[in-house]
């Protein structure tokens, strides 16, 4: 049994800034929903656009989508947690995804993942404390001939080895 992650009320000092961000985000979300003409079949496309824009799906955004599309919150919640492209918590500035497809696996992807885990100190699905890196795994990027493959901020790097992976993560702030 679980309640979806609800962002608790903010400290008074930061609440002013947070409201400004909320208004900006709300406008972006509204625009995205309108672009899809509020069709209920577009729910996943709308959530993908919000995820791309805000790098996560805030609960307030989901509430807006529920209202405008006339889709019950339970279905939105199920959809947002069912599909792995979505995150209900804020992501870091740089998203790292390591391919765990069969071809990459056979060429040693689990060892590359371990090196990255040890370096950043987080597990797949987590974000580090400085909100710099978010780590995830993905089940096949389709670059199978170049395995193991890692994607950082949509840039793909192939033919990885545990020894050389550390160097690739430098230079990101």
């Amino acid at each position: 049994m679980r309640s979806p992650d609800i962002q608790g009320s903010s400290q008074s000092g930061a609440s002013m800034k947070r409201t400004e961000i909320e208004i900006m985000d709300a406008e972006k979300v509204e625009r995205i929903i309108d672009n899809h003409r509020c069709e209920p079949g577009s729910l996943i496309q709308i959530l993908l656009d919000i995820q791309a824009e805000l790098h996560w799906l805030p609960k307030e955004a989901l509430a807006m989508v529920s209202e405008k599309l006339h889709v019950p919150m339970s279905r939105i919640q199920h959809t947002a947690t069912f599909y792995k492209a979505f995150s209900l918590v804020p992501k870091g500035r740089h998203e790292i995804n390591i391919c765990m497809g069969t071809a990459c696996h056979v060429r040693g992807a689990p060892r590359v993942l371990e090196v990255v885990q040890n370096l950043i100190g987080i597990q797949p699905g987590e974000t580090d404390a400085e909100m710099k890196f978010s780590l995830g795994t993905v089940n096949c990027l389709g670059c199978c001939a170049l395995g193991p493959v890692m994607e950082i901020d949509a840039e793909r790097l192939g033919k990885l080895a545990p020894a050389t992976t550390a160097g690739l993560l430098k230079g990101y702030d």
Binding site: Q45, H78, R107, N118, G142, C143, L146, R156, A163
Partner: protein, 652 residues
């Protein structure tokens, strides 16, 4: 806007007349694979060098679709000579322009070399990887810039559409596809023509056609290459299918992990629309058709038809019971025809060249060609298109050029998570829809993952069950619980906690999971387990009984050890060790601290061949480190050797 077949032909002739076949053309693969190895920079480098040499008006450069030779990318083809260069870097570009473009000389070092015969191949057509294929579909990729519709038109694109709309009735189109015996290329293998006929005959005016580009099998990227590289071929097939069935609205469902395919599909649709191949009154035929691209959101199960339909409706992708089949009740309850990318790509060929032409390829019950992704422990990784009926052995050895590093072949995994592993004994099995099932596998969507002696087959089964437990929708209990339990048992076995009776328990769980699951994901989930038990039972037994991994792969069951008699104290492995577990210095034999070792295997890979001192032990205790005073090596200095070793330290 083109308003008749005659106008289309006129436009085609105009395009061709502006293209002198004698002009020098440089085609660089711009598929996702080559881009990830730097093809973008190569394209820019060519642009700059051509400009610098003042050749802008004489030479055409284009980024093209993926020709499939991914192991050797970036791939560059120079025409009209059809010279093929491999693994091209920006540094090679000035030489290529100076030698090949200007002097018409070949740059030897960039050519393909056959490892066994030690021969070089100059022309793309002579490279054994390509020569032994029948590239009806993927052969065009290197000739097309996917962002340019003119390239597709120059090759005869959309002539099949014109023929279907103006020279055939919709019934005749269905008959032709039935006659071709084309079977679905996504893994199901259902006769396409019969599927179309069912949708065509279903009552109702609103019908949908869908391209299933949710290629989720890990290790398979055929659809990615075709959709990215030649999107118009799929669009043309789709509109022909829509005409045949009586549908006016279609979707292309693309997984969001394929951003370049999404981009190129979007560009293609826009350009096709501008030319009048989509929309109202296509080519003046009176037929209307509209298409939209719809992104997946990271769910393998959405490759299943009914789950895909729910995803299009904005819902979680939980498969539903069939009957009713999508052909009668599909998207929004309307008759719907869903086909795989490669299936659609075959349609324009069948319409243009005829079902009889198509039937000359393949076997009695499996007609045509199939694209396979040949990956894993194989020299020539990439996409391979062959007629059905070619044997696994021919694909792996004739086209794939065998296993690298003088390792021994162990198994080839086909059919993705629904498939099985085929050992050496069955390598002469013909690859088609039916033969592979006798060996305990399936052809599936075309993934072929080659494994060698270093691959642990129990770990392979565990890997697939892990994948399936992440991707199962969880609606039905046989799959949700069965996959979870099988995965737990396999994990225990690979981590040294296997028990007597585990194999029998796996077989029992396999029965209920395969028999009672709601959809094909659950029903085929036991396949990787059952096929590896069938062909590699001894590996299971060794893991369980002896707590040993014969392939030295399962981390919990192996240890890395430096043989003190062989260690040359070159200091490479202490430097490269990812967990700082190796103690050793110049003239001091290196030792691995087992407590710190994370089993990444770097030391094993990196120890110079002349020492070969790092070994893997499994099923036996690690010898205690020799006393420190005995680790000192006294030897004559070899400055040349030291320099070489130091060089290795820097460049590795």
């Amino acid at each position: 806007m083109i308003n008749s077949p005659a106008e289309l032909e006129k436009l085609r002739q105009e395009i061709l007349s502006k293209r002198d076949p004698g002009t020098t053309r440089i085609s660089i693969c711009a598929g996702a694979g080559c881009l990830a190895t730097g093809a973008g920079k190569v394209i820019t480098a060519f642009g700059e060098e051509i400009e610098k040499q003042g050749l802008r008006n004489d030479v055409n450069i284009k980024g093209t679709g993926c020709p499939g030779f991914c192991e050797r990318g970036p791939v560059v083809v120079i025409d009209p000579e059809d010279i093929c260069y491999l693994q091209v870097t920006p540094k090679d570009v000035p030489e290529i322009v100076a030698q090949t473009i200007k002097e018409k000389k070949v740059v030897d070092r960039l050519l393909y070399v056959d490892q066994t015969k030690n021969e070089k191949a100059v022309h793309e057509a002579d490279i054994p990887f390509y020569k032994n294929q029948e590239r009806n579909i993927i052969g065009n990729n290197i000739k097309i810039d996917p962002k340019c519709i003119d390239d597709y038109l120059a090759l005869g694109g959309y002539s099949a559409l014109a023929k279907a709309l103006f020279q055939m009735t919709s019934e005749q189109v269905v008959e032709e596809v039935k006659h071709s015996k084309l079977r679905g290329r996504g893994g199901g293998g259902f006769p396409t023509g019969i599927k179309w006929e069912a949708a065509r005959n279903a009552p109702g005016d609103t019908k949908y056609v869908i391209v299933n580009a949710d290629e989720g099998d890990p290790g398979a990227f055929m659809d990615r290459a075709v959709l990215e590289g030649n999107p118009h071929s799929i669009l043309e097939g789709l509109i022909i299918g829509a005409y045949a069935i009586g549908s006016h609205e279609g979707y292309i469902y693309v997984r969001q992990e394929y951003p370049l395919a999404l981009e190129n599909a979007g560009i293609a649709i826009k350009q096709a629309e501008e030319h009048g191949f989509f929309g109202t009154n296509i080519l003046g035929s009176g037929f209307d058709f509209y298409v939209k691209v719809h992104r997946g959101a990271g769910a393998f199960v959405c490759g299943e038809e009914t789950a895909l339909l729910l995803s299009l409706e904005g819902k979680p992708g939980e498969p539903r019971a069939r009957p009713p089949y999508p052909a009668t009740r599909g998207l929004w309850g309307k008759p719907t025809n869903i086909n795989n990318v490669e299936t659609w790509a075959n349609v324009p060929l069948i319409i243009n060249k005829g079902a009889d032409w198509f039937n000359q390829f393949g076997t009695e019950r499996s007609k045509g060609t199939k694209i396979f992704s040949l990956v894993g422990k194989i020299r020539n990784t990439g996409l391979v298109e062959v007629p059905m009926g070619v044997t696994l052995r021919d694909i792996i050895y004739k086209i794939g050029d065998g296993i690298p590093g003088s390792k021994k072949f162990k198994a080839v995994q086909t059919g993705g998570p629904a498939g099985g592993c085929i050992p050496e004994a069955h390598l002469d099995t013909a690859v088609d829809f039916d033969e592979l099932t006798k060996a305990g596998a399936i052809m599936g969507s075309g993934g072929m993952i080659v494994m060698d002696e270093d691959t642990c087959m129990v770990d392979v089964a565990r890997y697939f069950l892990n994948f399936l437990s992440e991707e199962s929708c969880g609606k039905c209990s046989p799959c949700r619980e069965g996959v979870k339990r099988m995965h737990q048992i396999l994990t225990n076995i690979t981590e040294g906690r296997g028990k007597e009776g585990d194999i029998e328990l796996l077989e029992e769980l396999a029965l209920s999971t395969r028999s009672a699951s709601l959809c094909a994901l659950g029903r085929s989930a036991p396949n990787p387990v059952l096929s590896t038990i069938r062909h590699f039972r001894d590996e299971y037994e060794t893991h369980i009984r002896d707590k040993m991994c014969p392939s030295h792969s399962c981390k919990e069951l192996i240890s890395y050890y430096i043989d003190p008699d062989k260690c040359g104290a070159c200091r490479i492995c202490p430097r490269e060790c990812t967990s700082g577990a190796i103690i050793g210095d110049k003239n001091q034999i290196h030792v691995i601290d087992q407590a710190k070792c994370n089993k990444c295997g770097t030391c094993f890979e990196i120890c110079p061949a002349r020492f070969g001192a790092v070994i893997r032990l499994s099923g036996k205790p690690v010898p205690a480190p020799i006393p420190e005073e005995m680790r000192v090596i006294v030897r004559k200095r070899n400055p040349k050797r030291e320099k070489q070793d130091a060089g290795n330290l820097l460049t590795d």
